[in-house]
């Protein structure tokens, strides 16, 4: 009986855990010569269906030392809600997505700023965030990392060019290459 209970508990535990998907970074759609160890750097994400929460872990290795990077999501969309979990969405006032062109590709996007990676003397740093509850749906998006912080936040640098360029994107390598995340 004890063994059956232990196995049942283990199965229940594993069922509640969402397996993480790990992706590599590619050079960003604004900057293409900035340093990063693309082999060791990654962005991983997982969805916990029961709680409708999305966990994102960003790891930068060999970036610029002692540098502030801002992590964001670009959703490819026609319209989008005003919030994504506990975060606000940057979009047009009527809820339609904003048309932009990068790397010769035009897309309509809504943007969500998630947080900050501060690198150490070696250019290494990481950041984790749990977003949710997220509205059920299928989301087409790219992760990206800005060089510098302050877009849609109080207390940082300006957001306009030449500040806060996109240094890294995932999946990339071209703006518009998307990851699909489904929240049940």
């Amino acid at each position: 009986m004890k063994r059956i209970f232990a196995v049942a508990a283990a199965v229940a535990f594993l069922a509640g855990m969402a397996s993480a998907t790990s992706q590599k970074w590619t050079a960003g759609w604004d900057s293409f010569g900035v340093p990063l160890n693309y082999t060791k750097s990654s962005v991983s994400w997982s969805v916990a269906g029961a709680t409708k929460k999305l966990t994102v872990n960003v790891k930068l290795v060999g970036g610029m030392p002692n540098n502030l990077y801002q992590v964001a999501l670009n959703f490819f969309c026609a319209t989008f809600p005003s919030t994504f979990g506990q975060f606000p969405t940057e979009e047009n006032g009527d809820g339609s997505c904003i048309s932009i062109s990068r790397q010769g590709v035009s897309q309509s996007i809504a943007e969500v700023e998630l947080g900050v990676v501060l690198t150490d003397m070696n250019g290494n740093g990481s950041f984790s965030v749990v977003i949710g509850p997220v509205a059920p749906g299928t989301y087409s998006l790219e992760f990206f990392v800005r060089n510098g912080v302050g877009c849609d936040y109080i207390g940082g640098a300006p957001c306009e060019p030449p500040y806060s360029p996109a240094d890294y994107q995932s999946p990339g390598p071209t703006f518009g290459d998307a990851t699909t995340i489904t929240v049940p």
């Binding site: 610029m64 002692n66 540098n67 502030l68 990077y69 801002q70 919030t83 979990g85 506990q86 975060f87 606000p88 700023e113 998630l114 947080g115 900050v116 501060l118 150490d120 003397m121 070696n122 290494n124 740093g125 950041f127 984790s128 060089n147 510098g148 912080v149 302050g150 849609d152 936040y153 109080i154 207390g155 940082g156 640098a157 300006p158 806060s164």
Partner: protein
């Protein structure tokens, strides 16, 4: 045999885990009116061998704001690095710089560790593992600054002079200025 293995594994696990210390934030030492739920906000730290893990949690702060969090060491001289991070605020000969706040004068050096970016509710956290740290006893205060970019970091409000007050302390722990936590690295 299986039982012995499990007991040994459990003992090893317990032996490598160190109890975390949780501290509350207090206001200041530069700004005293920044909103925060002081009951729910905290700093948690633990030492394992030569590594220090710190988690900064802010609840009910200003929504959508960047708070750079760091450690302020109370010292006369200090090393140029603390783990993998550079130490700021050092003068000639690595002397710690004198500062007067809340009626107390003390000498400090600073290590910038991460940034809390708050959500729509003013909540956020960040966690960092610092190491390898030189053995010693460190007298510190944890701080949350009013913005990001202080301490010579690139890409924040302090870069090119934006913001201007990003090196001001909104929250300190334990506080008030000069009241320190002792962290011992064996």
């Amino acid at each position: 045999m299986k039982k012995i293995f499990l007991i040994v594994a459990a003992l090893l696990s317990v032996g490598s885990a160190f109890a975390a210390t949780t501290q509350k934030w207090t206001a200041g030492w530069d700004n005293f009116n920044e909103p925060l739920n002081y009951k729910k906000s905290k700093v948690t730290w633990s030492v394992a061998s030569t590594k220090l893990t710190v988690t900064y949690t802010l609840v009910g702060a200003t929504p959508r704001k960047l708070y750079q969090v760091d450690m302020a060491f109370f010292c006369t001289t200090f090393a140029s690095t603390f783990g993998q991070f550079p130490v700021g605020g050092l003068g000639t000969g690595n002397t710690c710089q004198s500062l007067t706040r809340q009626g107390v004068t003390a000498s400090n050096a600073y290590v910038e560790l991460c940034v809390v970016a708050t959500d729509l509710n003013g909540n956020g956290s960040c966690k960092v593992v610092v190491g390898t740290i030189a053995a010693g006893t460190y007298n510190v205060e944890f701080r949350a600054l009013d913005g990001a970019g202080a301490g010579g970091l690139s890409g924040g409000a302090g870069n090119d002079g934006f913001g201007g007050d990003d090196d001001n302390a909104d929250f300190q722990s334990p506080g008030p200025f000069g009241t320190t936590t002792t962290i011992t690295i064996p």
